[in-house]
């Protein structure tokens, strides 16, 4: 839900600074650069860890996410159970690890839906221009006027509940911002002097689109994709928290927090720790998006 406000960020940074790339580009020293940005390194590590959970959960835990040890129920976090246990004695850490697969799958689908549909709409609209562009952008404005979460809820109502439907719903809600950024970039790239220079040189329109416009436009859409990844984790977990995702006992992150609500007073870890994992993942995705944005600017 934050993507829309941050659009100007990604948009303005793409404008080629007339004197920015004056000196030779310094290469190498990636390690030194990493040391200088510990926050970014941490963000990459967090995201790698979460991706690891999603793809190879058994590497990270030997327990089963569905069967618990009843006598250990509602045990506080400790050496035995890192994140504590729930009311059925299931290990919360294991459930969070296995939940990563569901939650990240939904996030990936959501971003893919928004990215593919949005960039295509934006690309065509921006390149065709004229009246067609006017109509498409009006529609995009309408989509943006309905809050993302509400739009997702409407789509979920129509499609029915479940992880995939939630993912599609979240993706649909982000189509508009992708379309808008892509279209703005195509427009900006089209007005770059070097694009006109290519026209004067007799380069054909498809060639210009492919060689000049697309590479320049893609940069900020990728930044937005990284940003939307964080936003999608949030939206997916919110819908899952509201109970519209996978049915229990599936350990989706949002659902885990929701299950823990009944034990707010007695077992703080049941809500706090899964929620913390969600927050950390979103923060990591946003941090990486910002780094991409800035490096994209430096690259020129």
């Amino acid at each position: 839900m934050t993507a829309v406000e941050l659009l100007p960020d990604t948009a303005t940074s793409v404008v080629a600074d007339p004197r920015g790339s004056h000196g030779p580009v310094r290469r190498g020293g990636a390690l030194r650069a990493a040391v200088r940005r510990p926050g970014l390194v941490l963000a990459v590590l967090v995201l790698l860890l979460v991706l690891g959970w999603a793809f190879f959960p058994e590497w990270f835990t030997s327990r089963d996410p569905f069967t618990g040890v009843p006598r250990d129920k509602l045990t506080a976090p400790g050496a035995e159970y890192w994140f504590g246990t729930d009311h059925l004695g299931r290990d919360l850490y294991t459930r969070v690890v296995y939940g990563a697969a569901l939650s990240l799958k939904a996030t990936a689908i959501a971003v893919a839906v928004g990215f593919v549909a949005g960039t295509l709409i934006g690309l065509v609209s921006g390149f065709v221009g004229g009246r067609f562009d006017g109509v498409v952008m009006r529609l995009v404005d309408v989509l943006l006027s309905i809050p993302g979460l509400l739009l997702s809820l409407a789509v979920v109502t129509a499609l029915g509940f479940g992880t995939v439907n939630v993912a599609i719903a979240v993706g649909v809600a982000s189509v508009a911002s992708f379309a808008r950024v892509m279209r703005a970039d195509v427009f900006r790239a089209r007005t770059e002097v070097f694009v006109e220079a290519a026209t004067v040189s007799g380069v054909s329109r498809p060639e210009i689109l492919l060689r000049h416009v697309l590479p320049h436009a893609l940069g900020s859409v990728l930044v937005l994709a990284a940003l939307e990844f964080g936003g999608a984790i949030l939206a997916v977990s919110a819908l899952s928290f509201l109970g519209f995702g996978a049915p229990p006992p599936q350990p989706e992150w949002g659902a885990l927090v929701s299950e823990g609500r009944n034990y707010l007073a007695s077992a703080w870890w049941l809500t706090t720790l899964p929620g913390f994992v969600v927050a950390a993942s979103v923060l990591a995705a946003n941090r990486i998006s910002r780094a991409l944005d800035r490096d994209g600017g430096d690259f020129r």
């Binding site: 829309v4 100007p8 006027s145 309905i146 809050p147 509400l150 409407a154 949030l234 703080w268």
Partner: protein, 340 residues
Amino acid sequence: MTASGPAARRAAALRRGGYGRYLARRAAQGVFVLWAAFTLSFVVLYLLPGDPVSIMLNATGDGVGVDPGAVAALRAEHHLDSSLVVQYLYALADAVCGDFGSSIPTGEPVTRAIAEALPQTLALTAVSFTLAVLAGGGLALLSTSVRWRPLRRVLLSLPPLGVSVPTFWIGLILLQLFSFRAQLFPATGNAGFSALVLPAITLAVPTGAVFAQVLAKNLAAAWRSPFVETARAKGLSRTHIQLRHALRNGSIPVLTIIGITVGQMLAGAVVVETVFSRNGIGRLTEESVAAQDIPVIQGLVVLSALVFVLVNLAVDAVYPLVDPRIGRLERRRAPQEALA
């Protein structure tokens, strides 16, 4: 949204006529948005795979063996026997008269259900919005004023944190700390102002963070601009420049995101009201989705578009008064010296 798009469009509209015509045009565009939002929700809710009637009846719990009479009645009520276009036209005509049908499970008219829930959410949103503006604006001002690097970095890292944290989680943590541990505020319910505090704070965090981010960015941009250099060369103090120059220029773009922000607060209310078991629009939304109560959902979508349109109309009305440049933006695009 703060890009020159909407601003340029405002400028173009303002150039084409006086202030009155400008507002009239913006209002007409608002009506278009409302119509489009209605149509969009109709398309999504009635045309996506799945028979709306069976969804509706299924959700009421009747399940198998529904009374054929009920099905027929429902079909007739929603004109589902007619062609799609006719269905849509009936629905649109009803909506124009303020009739969005009735809730499936309760049979209550949609407009009455919304009207009953609205005041609670309006109160929540109003308090929360005020909090967000004060806290977000304050944070942005503070983080661009502080010159001690470490503190500045900490302050600047708060808004990105605020937009990354799930709203439901903030709510639950606040509940744990201030309702269960400290027992300062009631955990649930709508009773009185004290029940409003925690939900309002929860809802204000993401919005305030967005305000802080956008404003801090604009303030920083203003501080880098040549007119601030002029102001410094004139011997003005930093505080004077921050409040009289940077803040004034930096807060204008923030105006343009208010419409979207208020809409998002409505959506955020779905989560917040669920967490704090408050009655309101959010709760109504959550329950309606759970019951797949299509007429109510459609009413809520149109309501959010209406709020967006009204807030933006208010912003449009104020905008030319605070930004004297409007009307000039468009001229910048004159192609005369585009080559240079």
